[in-house]
Each structure stands twice: as structure tokens, then as C-alpha cells.
Amino acid sequence: MSKIKRKESLGSNAFLMAVSAVILGLVAGAILMAAIGSNPFSGFYYLFRGGLMNIERIGNTMATATTLMLVGLSVAFAFKTGLFNIGAAGQMLVGGLCATIVAHKVFLPRPLFLVVLIASGLLGGAIWGVIPGLLKARFNVHEVVATIMMNWIAYWSIYYFVPAYLKGPSLETESASIALTQSLRTPWLTKLFNGSYMNLGFFIAIICVILVKFILDKTTLGFGLKTVGFNRHCAEYAGIKVNSNVVISMMIAGGLAGLAGLTFYTGYSRNMQIGVLPAQGFDGIAVALLGASNPIGVFFSSLFFGILQSGKGFMNAMTSVPPEIADTIIATIIYFTATSVLFGRIWESIFKRRRKSAKEEQ
């Protein structure tokens, strides 16, 4: 009984805070639209219409959300062990590069091919994540510094690798397009979603949400990781190996970001541009924050951000509102999420007052 009650109060609290942050972010966006002389109602109408108006747009929204979901999971997972993975962008690039190489060079029956493709993305990201983990464990190099460095190593490596080995027929700045049959796109999904970018990556992301939730809540691995994240001194005292948990956590976080790269470069875009650090690597931090580092929370927040991301172009086309407004809304939401402690207090005091007045009425 008490268990159920507790779970509800805890869950609803985080949920309430997230919703408050979203609403305030939208209100701030509305004020901004009004300030530049646009009609906020039509702005929001087209923003959400752009993300959801037909089956094709919904597919695009889901495909956008897929990458964000996986990066969000990556950041959230590292958070749980007390690590700040700011290197998801680099891990995405390396995971995506490995997957792109496989997509161009490996020819196997489709099911086997998909396994190899997914494994390559996972592995590439995991390697890129495990290096900062090892540096942290061995030499106490702060993971924020190390992962940012790794981002730029990935960025410049790809800058040289892609034109040298994966060059497209016409352009110097991007890899050759991956054949549809060698990508995560699949005819029945493309048909179902009316030719959208929707691809198998979405299912990979869903499976990862479930898997991460399972690892964190139900396994000894998750127990150890969370203990290290909450209080490393106590973990050490209890005989949990802090350093190996840091390495494992960064490896898994990197792997998840690598999968994000896989879905983005071999599902969503089907080629790799050079000289671009994927913005999703950083947007994922916002996804994790809004989702309270909870896998289910990450699922919903990535869908929400997916709508904003894929709707902003349509909003721009239909109204005079610039697409940057959507980014501003996202930024404001992050701002309010970061100050969510404040909402907790406000809600608490409102509820308390209500309870008190109810008591007085009795």
C-alpha cells in the first residue's frame, strides 16, 4: 500500500515539474512571438501542425525523436552514475561512421546485415565513450573535459576520413548516400508513414528505453551504478568498485549515443556531412533533463522535442515566426527544468494551503 502511494507521489511530482516547465516554456515562446509582432496562436498552431498534421509528418517527428531519445538515454544513464556525458555528439559521429562504413562495404542477408549494422554503431559509440571513462577511472581526468575533447577528435577524424574513403559522386563535403536496402529504412515503414524518414531506428530506441529502465531498476549492475552515482564514498565503503562502474557507465552511455548516430546517419539522413557536430548530441542533454533522467521520462520528452524540431520549419513557412523561436522555447524549457526545485516548492505550498483550508472547513 505504502509502496504504491510513494511511487505515485514521486512519479507525479517529477511529471508535474516537467509539465510546468513545458507550459512556462510555451508561454515564454508565445510572449516572444507576440513581441516580434506575430500571432502566437497561429504560430503554435502551425508549429504543432507541422509536427503532427499528417501521417508523413508524424513519421518525421518520430524519426527526429528517435535520435533524441537515444542521446537522452545516453546522457540520463551517465547522470545516474554521477557522470556528465557531454560527448554524445562525438559518440554519435563515431557510431554513425562505423555504421556508414558497414552500410557501404558489408553485404549480407538483411536480418544478419541489420545485426552487424546495429552492432557497429553500438561498438563505435561505446569505444568513444569508454576512453573518457578510463581516463576518469585511471587518472581522474574530469569526464566533461575528456568528452568535449573526444567530440573534436571525432569531428576532425571524420573531416578527413569521409572525403578520403566514403566520398559521394558529386559533393566533397558529404559521404555517398547509402542505398535504401543498406539503411535502416524499410519499405513497409516508409509506405505506412507515406514516404517519411521513419525507420527501424524508432524500434531500436524503444527497446533501449525498456532495456535501460530494466538495467537501472532490476539488475545488480544498475544497483551498483546508481550507488556510485549517489554517493561514491559509500559505494567504496560497501565494496563496490567505483572505477569499474565509471568505465562501464561511460561505455553504455557511449553505446547508446552510438546507436543514436546509427539511427541518424543510416536511417534519417543516409549520409554523413563533414564539419558538423550533430546538435542532437547536445539537445539530448535537454531531453534527459526534462525527462528527469528517467527512461520513460526521456521517451516522452524526446517525442515532445521531436514535435518542436520537425514542426518549426512548417511554422516558418506558414507564418512570419522564425524557426529559432522553437529553439528558444526549448532553451526556456531547459531553463525552467533546471530550476524545477522551485516548482516543487510552489506546488507544495499551494497543496498545503489547500489542505489547510480544507481542514479548517471541517
Binding site: 545488480t220 554517493n231 563496490i240
Partner: protein
């Protein structure tokens, strides 16, 4: 008689718990008024309400007969209420003067000279013996506490609240503090003393308000009330102060420490060529003033600190360089000195905290999967057996428990695992007499089961009460190992300061 503080019919609820249920506290002008209660009885909550850290759900507060609203500590300050917290709030690389005037600088230009003169005056007047120009990190804990007192006096506080002030002090410092409190009331201040140490109440307090489980039990005149009566009012049943124990049935050596040298944080040896053994069926107590290498010794034995030279073995296994988990598996339990930093994951539920050392093996988990039902069931037995009280039972976060209940939780976790060697560092710190009685009897029971217990305590009472042998430690060395029946507290107290006992030297 004038009441300087009146808290009338105070009620405060937290989720799942009524911390204060219709409590009334009346403090007379110029008295030392003690508040006595078990851990989690609601003492700290009541004082936090008076100091403006919490708001009461119901009830009124009057200061000098006038009803007041105390919304935050600033309001309390303005009303002349000051509080010495259990954990000091000082900036370590600032001087005494700078710490005291912090927040009260007054204007743009710092009048450090005049402030420091005033502090010197106050210090002399109340017998605090503090040099205003000393830097905080260079002075002792006892002096830091006196700086906190000065801070309140500097702000013209008339009512001084002391929250468990003696928890961090040595016996001598406690005596000095008692004298300071007497000086304070002599100068017309009023003192509220929160404690569960009856001896201190007996020594200084005029009246005592006793609280049990959030309810007011009685207000007694300390001089006319025997200690045993106050204790039973606080706990709700008669309490015995003496530990009942049979003579030790000593067996084989469980913990053997040979020529151990351990570096301290400042890269100088904190433990020097130390040898000591603990056999099954006995409790060995390490007596010593805090900071004489006890922490480093315990960390070295438990694997939290690397060993420079020497050998440690546990039940015949060389564990000098063994990982902590190996030590646990051979059979080592550890009640750590710092319960919040080492002992618990504060932001995690009680049932996770209970399983923190054992989660990785059956029946807690199987093939990497946690058996959460078993975890919870196991936690329930620990919580029930050790009477750990919390708002939501085993689902409460450990951080939500009161200090005493956190300690009971750790003690429970370590004892239920029934280790061959139990290392107990200050196992009853911050506990009330009822809980101390229980934990002492459990430590003896653990010994009687044929296990070894190594006890570190800064309270000589506890050492004498429990130990079968006493090892006196001073500056990283064992001065001597003595039998409690053949020595007394004065002799051991002297050895603790580094003076060798007459005729000693059998090592």
C-alpha cells in the same frame, strides 16, 4: 516568573509523521532549559520552528509575552534568538573576526579593528578565551564552537539555542562549555540546551522539558529529579545504564595487525608500527582522543586507505591489500565513523541501503537480477529489529531519517549480517539512552556468539562498559593494552594524553 520564550500548542506534520503534536515549551528568563528526547522525538523540529527554519502548522510563539511570527532565521535574529548548530557554519580560511562579522559588515568600509576589539571584550566577559585574529582552520573544534557562540553574542542574542553541543567535544571541552553556559546565564542570557545526554542536563540545566514521540511528557525541575526518572520518562520504560555481560569466552585470533604503518592525509605517518590482535569472543576497545590515528587505523583495516607497511590478517587470511568486498566476504562488518558520507546513500530508499553490501549475491539477486521482494523483506526485519523509525518505513529515503535513526539503520545492517569481526566506530554517537542500551547489549550479544568486536569510541564510559580489553592509542601508537578491571578512567585518561602509566611496558 517572566517567560522569555513561549511556544504554545505547537503542531508540525511531515509526510507520514507528526513531528510535534501539541507541544508547549516555556523558557524563563535567565535559566538553562534543557529539552530531552530520543532521536526523532521532535526536539530539532521544535527548535527549527523557533529559529524560523520551519513554520508550525498550528500554535503560537511568544517572545517576552508578545506574539511573534518567525518566518526565517533573520526574524529569529532580530528577536534576539541565536542558534549554535551541530555542524558549524564557519569559513575555514577566514579569521575569527571575519567569520563573526560575516553578514553584519555594516556599510561599505570594513571596521575590522573595532569589530575585533568588541569580540575580544565579549570573549573576556564570558570567559570564552578566543583570539579574534586566529584563522578558523588552525583552532580546535571546541574553540570553533566558541566562535559560534561569539557570533550570536556579537549579534546581541539574548536567547541561545545549543543543538547537541557536546557531540563533537572532548571531556575537558565539555566541562569548559558547561562553565560557559553558566557564565551566559549569569550575564542575563537564557539558554536552551537540546541533548539526550542526561549527565549534562544534570550538570547545568535548571529545568527540563521531556518530549517523547512528538508529544510533551513533562517539565521537571532538574535538581529534584533523579537521572533514572528522567531517562525512563524519555524512553517510556525503565532504563539500565550498566551493560550486563558475562566473562568473555575468548577463542582464536580473528584480527591480527602486525607492525602497521599508515600515512595520514598530510603524508606523514598517522599510524606507526602498530600491532594489535582481537580474538573471537572478546570486545577490544580503542580509547583515545579524536585525531590520534584511530580513523586511519580503521580505514587501513577496512581497506579504505592503503597500507604503507605491515600486515593485517582476518581469520588467517592476509587481507593487507585485499579489495573491500573480499574483506566483507571473509566476514568483516564496519560501522563507519561518518555515517552520512560513508555509511549511507542518503538519496536512496532504506531498503536499498540495507542491501548495499550484499545485493550482488543470492538471495538478494540471482544471475544479475535483483530480488526486490527479498530486499524489502530483509530490510523490514532489520528495521523492525533495530527500531528504525521513519515516515514511510523502508521506502523512506535514508536522508529523511533523523541522525539517530540513520545510525540505528547502519548498526542494524552490519549486525544482522553477523560478521566474524565487527568494527564499530562510535556506534552510539548521537543516540539516546534507550538506543544506546540496545546497541550495547547487541554488541555484547555479538561477542557472545563467538565473534570479535573492535570498538573505537571517544567516550570512556562506553569503552569501560563494553571492552574486555582496552587499547589506549596516542599519536598513532598503542600506549598500552589494559584490562578494565585492573585500571580506572583516570589512568586511561592520562595515557590518552601520552603519559605512560607506571609500570607499563608489556607489549
Amino acid at each position: 516568573m517572566n517567560h522569555v520564550i513561549e511556544m504554545l500548542n505547537i503542531r508540525k506534520e511531515f509526510p507520514g509523521i507528526v513531528a510535534n503534536d501539541n507541544i508547549t515549551l516555556q523558557v524563563r528568563e535567565g535559566e538553562i532549559h534543557a529539552i530531552l528526547g530520543e532521536n526523532g522525538a521532535g526536539k530539532s523540529t521544535l527548535m527549527s520552528i523557533l529559529f524560523g527554519l520551519y513554520q508550525a502548522d498550528e500554535g503560537t510563539i511568544k517572545v517576552r509575552g508578545k506574539e511573534v511570527q518567525i518566518r526565517d532565521p533573520n526574524d529569529a535574529n532580530d528577536l534576539g534568538i541565536g542558534m549554535v548548530h551541530q555542524h558549524f557554519q564557519l569559513v575555514h580560511n577566514f579569521t575569527v573576526t571575519e567569520n563573526i562579522i560575516l553578514g553584519k559588515e555594516g556599510g561599505f568600509i570594513l571596521h575590522r579593528k573595532s569589530a575585533s576589539n568588541r569580540i575580544a571584550d565579549l570573549s573576556a566577559r564570558y570567559g570564552l578565551n578566543i583570539d579574534p585574529d586566529m584563522v578558523i582552520e588552525d583552532i580546535t573544534v571546541g574553540m570553533q564552537q566558541r566562535v559560534e557562540i561569539l557570533k550570536m553574542l556579537y549579534r546581541d542574542a539574548e536567547i541561545l539555542i545549543f543543538d547537541e553541543p557536546t557531540a563533537v567535544l572532548t571531556p575537558q571541552e565539555i566541562d569548559e562549555l558547561m562553565q560557559i553556559m553558566r557564565n551566559l546565564v549569569k550575564e542575563g542570557k537564557s539558554v536552551i540546551l537540546i541533548t539526550h545526554k542526561l549527565a549534562e542536563i544534570k550538570a547545568v540545566a535548571d529545568r527540563c522539558t521531556i518530549i517523547r514521540r512528538g508529544k510533551l511528557i513533562d517539565v521537571v525541575d532538574v535538581a529534584k529529579t533523579p537521572v533514572s526518572q528522567m531517562a525512563s520518562m524519555m524512553v517510556g520504560r525503565p532504563v539500565s545504564f550498566k551493560v550486563e555481560k558475562k566473562p568473555a569466552q575468548v577463542g582464536r585470533v580473528i584480527l591480527d595487525i602486525h607492525d602497521l604503518t599508515v600515512m595520514g592525509n598530510k603524508k606523514v605517518p598517522a599510524v606507526k608500527d602498530l600491532s594489535l590482535f582481537v580474538r573471537s569472543g572478546e570486545i577490544v576497545g580503542i580509547a583515545g582522543v579524536d585525531g590520534n590515528g584511530q580513523s586511519e587505523l580503521i580505514e587501513a583495516i577496512t581497506g579504505l586507505r592503503p597500507i604503507d607497511s605491515g600486515v593485517v590478517s582476518l581469520d588467517g587470511n592476509d587481507i593487507t591489500n585485499a579489495p573491500i568486498r573480499t574483506r566483507n566476504e571473509i566476514g568483516m562488518g564496519h560501522i563507519p565513523e561518518d555515517r552520512q558520507r560513508r555509511g549511507l546513500v542518503l538519496s536512496s530508499a532504506v531498503y536499498n541501503n540495507v542491501a548495499i553490501k550484499e545485493y550482488y549475491h543470492p538471495p538478494f539477486s540471482k544471475r544479475g537480477l535483483l530480488n526486490i521482494e527479498y530486499l524489502q523483506e530483509y530490510a523490514r526485519t532489520v528495521v523492525d529489529q533495530f527500531d528504525v523509525r521513519s515516515g514511510e518505513g523502508i521506502f523512506s529515503n535514508a536522508g529523511k531519517l533523523s541522525g539517530g535513526n540513520q545510525q540505528k539503520l547502519i548498526v542494524g545492517r552490519e549486525m544482522v549480517a553477523s560478521p566474524q569481526l565487527l568494527i564499530a566506530v562510535q556506534p552510539t554517537r548521537g543516540l539516546d539512552v534507550g538506543a544506546i542500551e540496545y546497541i550495547h547489549s547487541q554488541l555484547v550479544a555479538h561477542r557472545d556468539k563467538g565473534h570479535a568486536v573492535l570498538l573505537v569510541s571517544f567516550e570512556l564510559d562506553e569503552i569501560f562498559n563494553l571492552s574486555d580489553r582496552i587499547a589506549v592509542m596516542h599519536s598513532g601508537r598503542i600506549m598500552d593494552v589494559v584490562l578494565p578491571s585492573e585500571t580506572d578512567e583516570a589512568t586511561v585518561g592520562l595515557m590518552m594524553t601520552g603519559i605512560e602509566a607506571k609500570g607499563a611496558g608489556h607489549e
